[in-house]
C-alpha cells in the first residue's frame, strides 16, 4: 500500500464543451511509468498538456480514456483526497481568509484528526519551512516565496504518497526561484516521496529531475534522465528543447566529395559543408544523398582543433556575448547562423572571420522527414 509508483497507461484527455461535445484533445494516449520515490519532471512548451496530465493524476480533471494507477490502485474514479496525492499550484492557491496555521491544518481538520496531532504536525512542518513565526498571519501579509512555502507545507502535512507540482516557481523572482528549487530538491531527498513536477523551464527540469518526460502537443517525445536527454535526444524536438542556447540545426544532405563523405547544407550559395569523420562517417555512408538534419550543440563548436576529431568550418562573427569565462558567439556561416559557446576570455568583433571546429564525436544526424535521430 505504501507504494508511490504512478502508472499512466494510454491516457487520453479530450476537453468537451457544456453539451459534452469534444473540443480539444490535450493529451494523446500517453504512457508513462514513474517509480516509487522518483522525481519526475514533465517539461514542454506552453500548451503541450503538462498541466492537464498532472490534473488527471490529481483527480481534478476527468480522464477521457486510459488508466492512472498509484501504487497498485487504479485511481480513475477516485476522489482527489483518496488518491494519496498533494498538489502545489502555480498560483499558490492559499485560502486568503484563513491564517497560515489554518491553511496548513485545513485538510487535517476536515479529516477529523485530533487537535494535538494537528498542532504537532503543523508546528513541525512550519518550523522546518521557517514559517513558525507567522502562523497567525494571513497569506496577504506574506511574500511570494513565503506563500509558496506555505503551499508546500500544506502539501507536506497531508503526508501524501505522491507530490504534484504545477510550475510552482514561475511566479517567483529569479533569486527566489533558485532558492526554492534547491529547497524542493532537498525536500525530495529528505522525504523520499514520489514527485511529479511540471515546468516549461528546461533548466529547472535538468537540475531537478531524476528523469524528465519531454512533451509536445499532447504526446511524449522522450523520457530519460537529464544527461541522456542531453547526449542522446531521440528526435529533433528534444534536441532543440533541451540545452541553452539550443542545438544548431542545419538542413542538408550527405554527399560524396573527393572520395570522402561530407554533410552539405541545402543552399543556393555559401552552403556550409562539413567533412564527416569517425562514427558520423560510418553513419553517413548509409544515408548517401538522403535529406538529413545536422545537429551540433554550441558547446561542441570550439576555437581550437583537437586530436583529429574536430573539423573546421569557416565563418564570421555576427554578435558576441562575452560572459566572463566564456562567450556566446553568434556566427554567420553558410546561409544562416551558428551559435558557439567558446571558452576563454577572448573578445570578438563584429565581422571578424573565425574558423570554428566542430567536435564530430558529438554530432547528431536526424531524419528530415520523421525528425527522428539516426543511429
Amino acid at each position: 500500500m505504501n507504494d508511490g509508483a504512478v502508472h499512466i497507461t494510454d491516457l487520453v484527455k479530450t476537453y468537451t464543451d457544456d453539451r459534452g461535445r469534444p473540443t480539444f484533445t490535450a493529451v494523446k494516449k500517453i504512457n508513462l511509468e514513474i517509480q516509487n520515490g522518483e522525481f519526475m519532471v514533465l517539461v514542454g512548451p506552453s500548451g503541450c498538456g503538462k498541466t492537464t496530465t498532472l490534473r488527471m493524476v490529481a483527480g481534478l480533471e476527468k480522464i477521457t480514456s486510459g488508466t492512472i494507477a498509484i501504487g497498485d490502485r487504479i485511481v480513475n474514479d477516485m476522489e482527489p483526497k483518496d488518491r494519496g496525492i498533494a498538489m502545489v499550484f502555480q498560483n499558490y492557491a492559499l485560502y486568503p481568509h484563513m491564517t497560515i496555521f489554518n491553511n496548513m491544518a485545513f485538510g487535517l481538520q476536515l479529516a477529523k484528526k485530533k487537535k494535538d496531532f494537528i498542532q504537532d504536525t503543523v508546528g513541525r512542518t512550519s518550523k522546518a519551512l521557517g514559517l513558525d513565526q507567522m502562523l497567525e498571519r494571513k497569506p496577504q501579509a506574506l511574500s511570494g516565496g513565503q506563500r509558496q512555502r506555505v503551499a508546500l507545507g500544506r502539501a507536506i502535512v497531508r503526508n501524501p504518497q505522491v507530490f504534484l507540482f504545477d510550475e510552482p516557481l514561475s511566479n517567483l523572482d529569479a533569486k527566489m526561484r533558485v532558492q526554492m528549487r534547491s529547497e524542493i530538491s532537498r525536500l525530495h531527498s529528505q522525504l523520499g516521496n514520489t514527485m511529479i513536477y511540471v515546468t516549461h523551464d528546461q533548466v529547472e527540469a535538468m537540475t531537478m529531475g531524476d528523469r524528465i518526460c519531454v512533451m509536445k502537443d499532447g504526446a511524449i517525445m522522450q523520457v530519460a534522465d537529464p544527461l541522456t536527454l542531453y547526449r542522446q535526444p531521440e528526435n529533433l524536438f528534444v534536441a532543440g528543447f533541451i540545452g541553452s542556447p539550443p542545438m544548431n540545426l542545419l538542413k542538408g544532405k550527405i554527399e560524396r566529395r573527393d572520395g570522402g563523405l561530407v554533410f552539405a547544407e541545402t543552399a543556393e550559395q555559401n552552403a556550409v559543408s562539413v567533412p564527416l569523420i569517425g562514427q558520423v562517417e560510418a553513419l553517413g555512408s548509409k544515408l548517401l544523398d538522403k535529406p538529413v538534419i545536422f545537429g551540433v550543440r554550441p558547446e561542441h563548436l570550439t576555437e581550437e582543433s583537437k586530436n583529429g576529431s574536430h573539423v573546421p568550418v569557416a565563418s564570421s562573427v555576427d554578435i558576441a556575448e562575452p560572459m566572463g569565462s566564456e562567450s556566446l558567439v553568434y556566427l554567420k556561416a553558410g546561409t544562416g547562423n551558428l551559435i558557439a559557446r567558446i571558452h576563454g576570455e577572448a573578445l570578438y568583433e563584429m565581422g571578424q572571420p573565425l574558423t570554428v571546429y566542430v567536435n564530430m564525436e558529438k554530432v547528431l544526424l536526424f531524419d528530415s522527414e520523421t525528425e527522428k535521430v539516426i543511429r
Partner: protein
Amino acid sequence: MSPQRKQFLRQLTAHLVLIIVCALVLVPLVMVILASFRKGNFPPNALWLSLDQWTLDHWKYVLGIPYREVMNATSGETRLIQAQTPPLHWFFNSILVASLASLGIILLAGTAAYAFARLRFRFRGPTLTGLLILQMFPQVLALTAYYRILSYIGQRVPWIGLNTFPGLILIYLSGISINIWMIKGYFDTISISMEESARIDGASRFQTFFRILLPMSAPIFAVVFILSFIGMISEYPTASVVLQDSAVRTLAVGAYSLVGEQEKLWGHFSALAVLSGVPITIMFLLCQRFIIGGLTSGGAKE
C-alpha cells in the same frame, strides 16, 4: 488673467457645482423632516418652521403613542388619538419581510451563481441568457398573475396566500436573476484553484462553497443583500397587491395609505418616510464593513 485668479475661478466653479448637487439631495430631505414636525398635515414644502409650528404629534401617531388633537379651535375641545395599527407595526413588518427575503435571495442566488460559475452542464449559457431576458420584463407586469396564484395557493395552504408575508417573500424570491448575474460575475473573478485545493484537502462541494468561496465573496453578498433590502423596504406595487389587511402592510404600502383619496395625512406620511430611512441606514452600516476590497488577495497570484 493671473494664474491665481484662474485657479480661484476653477475652484469656485467646482464648489458651486458640488453645492448645487448637495442642495438637490439635502433640500427635499430637510423638507420632509420639517413636515414631520409641523402642526397640521401639510405636504413637505417649507425649509423653515417658526417656533409655534412645531409639534411631535405626527411622530406620536407613527410610533403609536396616544396624543390629544384640538378639534375645535374656539371651544378648545380636544380628542385622544391613537392609530389602530400603529405605523411602527408596518415598519417592523417591512424589516421582517426585507430581511428574510434578502437572506433568501442571497442563498438562492448564491447557490445558483455557483452552479453557473463552477459547474458545466447542458444549456448553461442559454439558461443564463434566458434569465437576463426574463428579468427585462418588469415584475409589475405579472401582478395580476401573482395575485391569482397566491389566492389559489392561499385556498389550500393559507400561510402562503394573500395577506401573508411568506406569499410576498415568495414573489420577491422570483426576481433574482440580476443577482445571480452579479454574484456569478464575482465568482468568475476568483481563481478556481483555491477551491480545487480544498477539494484535494478533502472538502465536499458544500464545504468548499461555504468555507472557501463564500468567505471570499463577502463583498458581493453584502452588496446584493443591501440592494435587495433597500429595494424591498421601499417596494410598493407588489406589496400593495399582496398585503391589503392593515395589520400586515409594509412600510411603503402603509405610508401610501396615509395619503389616500379622501384624506392626505402629509405630516404622518413624512414622519413615516423619515423612519423608513432608519433601517436602511443601519443595514448599510452593518453591511459596509463587508464591502471591502482585497479579501482574495494573497490567495492566488494571477
